[in-house]
């Protein structure tokens, strides 16, 4: 974690991290995806078999559903359990006091001035 890798190739990822990355990809995809499409979309060179392994493991864990498409499977997130989890968690997430007691959120809320400043910063140096 301490070594500097600025500008270098993407770091090697562990299995848990790959699961997260593939899961987040499938959640943003409008359609179910096959292993080939997932492999194509991921940054870094992942073997096709690795992608297949991770997809079937995520299916075993119940977070992905799969349907047969020709000779292989296409995968999509399971919405029901995730939706149930989300509704349970909302009680905490909606209460400011509770939220602050545990969580450092990725970003805090912006003020109107912040918003303008942020847009300018991103235009100048973000792209």
């Amino acid at each position: 974690m301490t070594e500097s890798r600025a500008g270098g190739p993407p770091a090697r990822r562990g299995p848990g991290e790959l699961e997260s990355e593939i899961l987040s990809l499938l959640w943003t995809s409008p359609t179910a995806m096959g292993a080939g499409a997932v492999q194509e979309q991921l940054s870094g060179e992942l073997a096709y078999t690795t992608v297949v392994t991770i997809l079937s493991r995520l299916h075993d864990k119940g977070v992905l559903q799969r349907t047969r498409s020709g000779r292989s499977y296409v995968y999509a997130p399971v919405y029901d359990e995730a939706g149930l989890a989300a509704r349970r968690m909302r009680q905490v997430l909606d209460k400011e006091g509770d939220r602050q007691a545990v969580l450092a959120r990725f970003v805090s809320d912006l003020s109107t001035d912040d918003e303008a400043l942020l847009r300018r910063l991103l235009e100048e140096g973000g792209s």
Binding site: L25, R88, V92, D114, E115, L117, L121, G125, G126
Partner: protein, 307 residues
């Protein structure tokens, strides 16, 4: 004892300059270490000092289960207006303890609800919330998790999503939640430590941002991820108080600027001077607490012998 016992209650003010200056002039990792150490020492000394004042001040109150000699006139004479000070100190100590219990209880309850939620979603590092506004956070614990809403993921491209995941992983692997908890509890002990808590919270975000930049290999990708994520969220209709803007624009600006140098500031620079003032304050506070405790002990021994 006399006035020395009050020093730890005043000295947290010496940390205010460093809380304001450190974040923008030091590498985030150093800021976290420095500010957390200072905050812990100052809060501990202030609490002990309140405890000493409470012991001396309330010893003669009826119903306090302390040995008789604790209410000896000599003990009471060691502090002027001992009764007033004693009740004030015990009120302050009680409110600090209440604050600590509320913080710990809320944390426990919130963690329990969130952990039950992610457990229901499945056994993966990442839990995606299909409903609700854009949000992302790290959920610490024995099985650390990352929770992101689908509305947040949808706003980011693949590299930015990796940056987001790496940022949350840095929070989890560094146990940043514990650091933040220490800072929050310290704020319970002394309200003047509130700016320290804010500064530590910001420095932890900067740490995670820099860690994410090392993982994705491009600091601009992290800057974009942070910026886009914030623009996806709510905007409150108040202007930022600081000229540099709120925490999010400051983080983005820091990521777009060159990597901060990983060394301590020189003593004659403003952040260096602020660091020295705070270190001096913490040292003085420690000495004063020690001195007052020894003093009280000596007074009690003397009183004991005179009986």
């Amino acid at each position: 004892m006399r006035w020395i016992v009050y020093l730890p209650l005043l000295l947290p003010i010496t940390a205010v300059p460093v809380a304001r200056l450190a974040a923008d002039h030091l590498a985030p990792r150093r800021v976290v270490g420095l500010l957390t150490a200072l905050t812990s020492v100052l809060a501990l000394c202030a609490t002990i000092s309140l405890g000493l004042l409470t012991v001396v001040g309330t010893a003669q109150l009826p119903g306090v289960p302390l040995p008789d000699h604790w209410s000896d006139p000599q003990v009471r004479a060691s502090i002027p207006n001992v009764q007033v000070i004693g009740s004030l100190a015990s009120a302050a100590l009680t409110s600090a303890l209440v604050c600590v219990s509320v913080v710990l209880w809320r944390r426990r309850r919130a963690l329990a609800v969130l952990r039950a939620g992610v457990a229901a979603a499945g056994d993966t590092e990442l839990t995606v919330l299909p409903i609700g506004p854009p949000t992302a956070f790290a959920l610490p614990g024995r099985r650390p998790r990352i929770v992101v809403s689908a509305s947040m993921l949808a706003r980011l491209d693949a590299d930015e999503r990796r940056a987001l995941l790496a940022h949350e992983r840095a929070h989890l692997s560094g146990r940043h939640d514990r650091v933040l908890l220490v800072a929050t509890l310290a704020m319970c002990a002394h309200p003047l430590l509130r700016p320290m808590r804010t500064a530590i919270g910001y420095a932890l975000e900067r740490c995670a941002d820099e860690a994410a930049a090392r993982v994705v290999g491009d600091r601009r990708v992290v800057a974009r991820a942070v910026g886009k994520a914030a623009l996806a969220g709510p905007v409150t209709p108040h202007g930022a108080m600081a000229a540099t803007g709120g925490p999010v624009p400051r983080r983005v600006a820091a990521l777009l600027a060159p990597t901060p140098a990983d060394r301590w500031p020189t003593p004659w620079s403003r952040p260096g001077a602020a660091t020295l003032v705070a270190l001096g304050g913490a040292a003085l506070s420690t000495w004063a607490t020690w001195d007052a405790a020894i003093d009280l002990h000596a007074i009690l021994l003397t009183a004991d012998h005179m009986l």
